[in-house]
Point group: D4
Chain length 248, copies 8
Amino acid sequence: MEQTDLIELLNEVKNGNISVDEAVLSIKKKPIEDLGFAKLDLHRGVRQGVTEVVYGAGKTPEQIKEITKALLANGQKTVLITRMSEEASKIMSDVSGFSYDPLSRVGIAGVIPKPTGKGKIIIATGGTSDMPVAEEAALTAMALGNEVVRLYDVGVAGIHRLLSHMEEIMSANVIIAIAGMEGALASVIGGIADCPVIAVPTSVGYGAAFEGLSALLSMLNSCASGVTVVNIDNGFGAAYTASMINHR
Amino acid sequence: MEQTDLIELLNEVKNGNISVDEAVLSIKKKPIEDLGFAKLDLHRGVRQGVTEVVYGAGKTPEQIKEITKALLANGQKTVLITRMSEEASKIMSDVSGFSYDPLSRVGIAGVIPKPTGKGKIIIATGGTSDMPVAEEAALTAMALGNEVVRLYDVGVAGIHRLLSHMEEIMSANVIIAIAGMEGALASVIGGIADCPVIAVPTSVGYGAAFEGLSALLSMLNSCASGVTVVNIDNGFGAAYTASMINHR
Amino acid sequence: MEQTDLIELLNEVKNGNISVDEAVLSIKKKPIEDLGFAKLDLHRGVRQGVTEVVYGAGKTPEQIKEITKALLANGQKTVLITRMSEEASKIMSDVSGFSYDPLSRVGIAGVIPKPTGKGKIIIATGGTSDMPVAEEAALTAMALGNEVVRLYDVGVAGIHRLLSHMEEIMSANVIIAIAGMEGALASVIGGIADCPVIAVPTSVGYGAAFEGLSALLSMLNSCASGVTVVNIDNGFGAAYTASMINHR
Amino acid sequence: MEQTDLIELLNEVKNGNISVDEAVLSIKKKPIEDLGFAKLDLHRGVRQGVTEVVYGAGKTPEQIKEITKALLANGQKTVLITRMSEEASKIMSDVSGFSYDPLSRVGIAGVIPKPTGKGKIIIATGGTSDMPVAEEAALTAMALGNEVVRLYDVGVAGIHRLLSHMEEIMSANVIIAIAGMEGALASVIGGIADCPVIAVPTSVGYGAAFEGLSALLSMLNSCASGVTVVNIDNGFGAAYTASMINHR
Amino acid sequence: MEQTDLIELLNEVKNGNISVDEAVLSIKKKPIEDLGFAKLDLHRGVRQGVTEVVYGAGKTPEQIKEITKALLANGQKTVLITRMSEEASKIMSDVSGFSYDPLSRVGIAGVIPKPTGKGKIIIATGGTSDMPVAEEAALTAMALGNEVVRLYDVGVAGIHRLLSHMEEIMSANVIIAIAGMEGALASVIGGIADCPVIAVPTSVGYGAAFEGLSALLSMLNSCASGVTVVNIDNGFGAAYTASMINHR
Amino acid sequence: MEQTDLIELLNEVKNGNISVDEAVLSIKKKPIEDLGFAKLDLHRGVRQGVTEVVYGAGKTPEQIKEITKALLANGQKTVLITRMSEEASKIMSDVSGFSYDPLSRVGIAGVIPKPTGKGKIIIATGGTSDMPVAEEAALTAMALGNEVVRLYDVGVAGIHRLLSHMEEIMSANVIIAIAGMEGALASVIGGIADCPVIAVPTSVGYGAAFEGLSALLSMLNSCASGVTVVNIDNGFGAAYTASMINHR
Amino acid sequence: MEQTDLIELLNEVKNGNISVDEAVLSIKKKPIEDLGFAKLDLHRGVRQGVTEVVYGAGKTPEQIKEITKALLANGQKTVLITRMSEEASKIMSDVSGFSYDPLSRVGIAGVIPKPTGKGKIIIATGGTSDMPVAEEAALTAMALGNEVVRLYDVGVAGIHRLLSHMEEIMSANVIIAIAGMEGALASVIGGIADCPVIAVPTSVGYGAAFEGLSALLSMLNSCASGVTVVNIDNGFGAAYTASMINHR
Amino acid sequence: MEQTDLIELLNEVKNGNISVDEAVLSIKKKPIEDLGFAKLDLHRGVRQGVTEVVYGAGKTPEQIKEITKALLANGQKTVLITRMSEEASKIMSDVSGFSYDPLSRVGIAGVIPKPTGKGKIIIATGGTSDMPVAEEAALTAMALGNEVVRLYDVGVAGIHRLLSHMEEIMSANVIIAIAGMEGALASVIGGIADCPVIAVPTSVGYGAAFEGLSALLSMLNSCASGVTVVNIDNGFGAAYTASMINHR
């Protein structure tokens, strides 16, 4: 039931064309889906004309291309595609402004927006092996209109590497701390920074890293306040929330 | 928005007392809770005037008593109280028709209804230690209007005990198979019976039983078709679903 | 010992051709398999002449073909083959009425029966990635004589998608709720519907989804009554039980 | 090395009282703790004169009382004490403005500040058993200067309870979603709201809830964007981060 | 159906008192439990007149006493009671030949039989904390008619303690190796002995012993051939199997 | 120090050629390896001239061939090779009496000995997918001199299949019960048979079978006495112990 | 066989009182325990007359007292008792030089030796709750003759607390890093120090700390070189190894 | 800020070219990274001109080659490359003194230093399958200047193999005990040796070995004192710590 349908129905009641009982029944029958829920979707997505996200995993190259083109045609300025196979990136040459990062498997079509957030999002990693996740986060944050500062390979086993970037850390509005293995980076940064820290455990490591479980538990148990956690390797999710906070 | 409120609103529209726009706004503002969702609740619960369930865990004896009395006063014929402490049962003497089973920690107030289901619900256990869970299931099923047949201590380590009840098993409309330790009962019954089998793992056992995990995994991996599983020790949940099936 | 054998034996006793002692020995020696257990098998399978199921995993294409042909020759109207490799499907061209669905890896030979169940089986999924499991369930349910309604991609992260199908949900006789990742779909549907809900966790997801463990635990802990659970990715098992309930 | 010490040292160098070499040595010897790190602590804590947090677990009643009094004497307007035993609360009668909530085991001394955040923090729970964790979050958020709205017992098994609070949800600046068992609340709210959602798994449940593991995994796998997770039962941590976001 | 009943039935057929059809029906109706399955029970238990086992856990002192007395009255020479509470042992003073071992919580009534096995059962433990499990095994083995040799506190961290008993180990017919923590005892003994070794992991240890999981996994992965494993702390089960082997 | 060396040494002492002190030193220096430990190896292996086992995993085809030939040349009558790749089997054509079973990946060279055990070893499986493990057990048992009876595909979901083999089960000296998924076979057989049952969990199954964990836990928790367990898929280990018992 | 026994035996051979054959037999019969293995024990323990360790768990107060007195009477200068109950400490008043630390539950009798190690052992903890484990380590190290420096409450969430102790860390010969929750302390210290770091995970924490599992995994995955790990809460074990290294 | 920069700055203050305030600001701005932390790195690495380690995993062959050449050019005498692919080793022919071990995937460039440690490092393995990990440890230890003794295939299932090397074990300064499956080697060696034992669990095994988890837990629970543990398959880490201890 579109809003116009409801207006029409109420007009019918007003005009006596249908009875009050009939109207009650009619409204009750489709109570939920028709009354404004589409609006929820608008709330949910980023404002029309800006960035739409396509989750590439499990979609064929052709499907990805088609959706991307349709979104752009529909007025989207930026289309972010995560978990996109290199194969899929190869057929996008005629998509406007398309670029692809094979490390993070992120594709972006259209234009990357100017930063509109209130501050900077710092993306820090424990090691260079965490870079695919970090770049997924970085490109997501940029596509959602944020200024990004990368602090890669600042793991706690060489604490001076991290501490030498104190100024950047202190100036951040949100920090994304990405680490595998022991995942201690989130706690150390959480103890230094005075902004929210979103921790991303990665599946980097071997043996008792158990595919990211070690880093995940470590981050959930951070004794630093202000640290929250997302799923293993979920760079996108961290950046999405970071952008939300940065646009509050 | 009660239905009467909606009628009133529509009458206001009909009478021209409020405009169509105002009515749209008013309806849209509380779209969900007020339009018929109460009906959902009625669908969900068992038919009005029959059985209502109170989850006793985490409620004080006084709260339980109060709720029970209110439900009875409101026309409920049967009130089922699960996970009820013995302490709580002690103050229920002035509640109409109250009885308490200390083994399963189930209390029932009012009258137990005559069976209205299509067939019998068989409740089988692997051992006598599974009886608290089994009785929770049995009393729940009875309170929800089902005929119950108990086959206790028919675990697979003495398969003849189970097989000697072949006739009951073949005559069941739904079977609840309750077992701890290796949880094999569900598979064996599932292979014999031609009706749905709801498996309840119990936390009975020690060591590698891991508080019911062994039985749970065992039941989920049953190679017999027609077996579904509920949470460890969840006798109530199994009986609730069994009753649903028995009243289809 | 076929029933005819028993009759013959008893006639021999009656006629004095063999002694009582010999008869006792003869009956005791093969007590179990021969007295009516074949009947159990008939109870267990769907009624003769209807649908037989072949589990394709671990069978060679030739074995599958041979079994299927034998079953059809034996009067089966429908043969359902689950977990069938695409390779196996390629050699079935001379099997009567054979069709193959590469997504769910289900093959069906013979004719799909007219629905004979009492109501509709709704098959709902959280996302499009759950479709292989969902289609295994859908095709199984259809092959077993049920009317199926598909509600795909109605995951709880966009609750309006699910709520807009309230009518279908309310009209179901059994619902199969299929979801990976957080597996919340089962609880939400379980809270809305007034029929049994069979939850199927899927191995869709990554990281802390732990190959379906997250969805499995989530579904087992559903706080909605009427929800039971089958093994991860077990679309067939859910549909088999759903069909049982729908034919009660 | 306080800043005044550094100034003094440099003045000594300027005046030629100590050599450059001696000054180099002196600065190098305590490079870290003395140069501005105290400032970090100020950044880290909430602004001087406002709220200080005492973690009560593992401290004696006397220690808690002493620390609290010292903080108040030192100019703190509010002192928040988490995980405080009832026993400890009993000896606090002479502490200015002390109140204690036995449910959440939170004590507050001094005055609760006026809300200074940008918006409202919604605290939603799946069930009433999650209330101890929720109240820890609520009282923490209030003590840190936030307006709090409580939506308790809106679990997804009765989705209309949640949906009837759509307006509150849409008006939130941050939401804390607290649930045990299947933990689906976070995903459903995450799908509706357009602000950050901090998910708190609770240890409520039994059997396959595995002391909160089920809810934890569920929340980490949320398919709604904008959801991050804290440790099981960590109401304080969620509120601390929520307050950070609300004061950005 | 007792064997005498079957004879009677067949006589009736022979005499023409009942028809063949009636006899078929009668035999088919209770096909399983009545035809010789009691015999299975006799096979299963230890030979009549010798030892019967009562699992004391979950039985009241009175029930245990009653069962024990009945068994003795019925001709059992030995009654073994495992997992018997000290409380239960206190009321057994009028039970013939009763003795109780508080360490292993094993009670024995009647007489301990002379060893009838072919050889000795060695019971070895890693440490003194494993003694309760070891004594459960030792007393079980003795009650079942075996000669038992105890080698306690011969854990592998002091390998010479074990090696100094080489002669006993080489002379065993079956060995029960009981250990907690790293559970290495089973492998070392398994590598030395040339008889079957039954490994019993115990819940002794702390931290990463995880209630016996560490020892359990260790023993399952033994690289010595001839080692099989029972449940954590299951001294009874190990001794029961050892006795079976010793009486082959 | 061979025994002959010791004799020689002692003769030297006797003859006064070396002093007592020198002899003490000499004996103490190599106390362990030289005094009879070689004998242990003879005890440990199956008697000289009979069967030697080669663990093929991680050895090159050439290494396997070389070892096998050396053993045969050394007088071994039978050489059993487990976990042998098909590739390795291809180069064995000039090895005396070599045969290879691709299903179980077992190779045997030389002659399979006549059964020398006291009774029969029954090898039972839950399904046909357990056959690779079962054949590893069967061929191992045969190579070690045992009579083997195979009862395949007698899983508990069709209990009559198992029960129809009651006579074989009752006549066994040892039973190896092999099953994946819920692993219930061990308990059911353990409850019927009166001989030791060695349970082998297999990695057959999917989802919550967790690579054999479900069957493993199930078997460890068997409520039937006389059941012991070996590692997942360890057909060899089960047969080795079974042969030990069968040769006691 | 004591060394004197061997000498005697060899003398008998020399003197012709016993034959070579008899001597061979006699030596072979007890080959292991008697030839020098006692020496191993001396190697193993700390040198005679110094420190002996009593593991108090599972011993009665009387047993502990008796052992302690015997050791002192036997010339031990120091007796260390770990996991000693307060109850046991109460009856030790007449034991020479006895002192008891209720926090770590360590008792020491006799005299604490002067440090004999090459350097200092630093004991660092993440929080004050780790102190019981830390004090067990500290007192153990002292009783074994080491100089101990305590750095408590230097957890990584306030990295400046740790860094302000850089000089102590740089001057250590061995460091014991003790932390619960995320256990990141070991990595940070491991990255700073240039000596071996022994990491002790503690069971401090709640929820996803899983009784120390989180810290354990974290420490095992440390990306700093030079870090090794002991069991959860095993302060004694860490100090024992640290002392070994410090006395190399 | 290099030390020279600080001197310059202080000279400027001395000369009055910059004010004290400006100097305070300048020093405070980069307090950490610039004041001596480079020195930490020197402490951390092995002394300049000796051995540098390159972690090959995740680096391209070209990157590895480039880094190695740069290090050698920079005066490193030895460059150790771990987890190096065979492919990478193929392009190193023009690197001075390069050799590659395909088993352990370790490459070494330059010269292997003469042993400078105080004693020998023994590297023991349970089986031949543990050799890749053992060789990583051995080559690391050698590249770091240690004398290495290999004791391979001395697993506890044939304890005499281990005991025959008693002398080597007793003469070690540090022992690295490497084992998969039940991981008992560490305990047995730990009980014999009087030097620190570093245990390395390996992922060797199958089924309930769970990729090294069994050995890991076993080693953490070692009841021998002096045993510490590193991550699964972390031969490098064990050798690095062993070398540290050996150079104390």
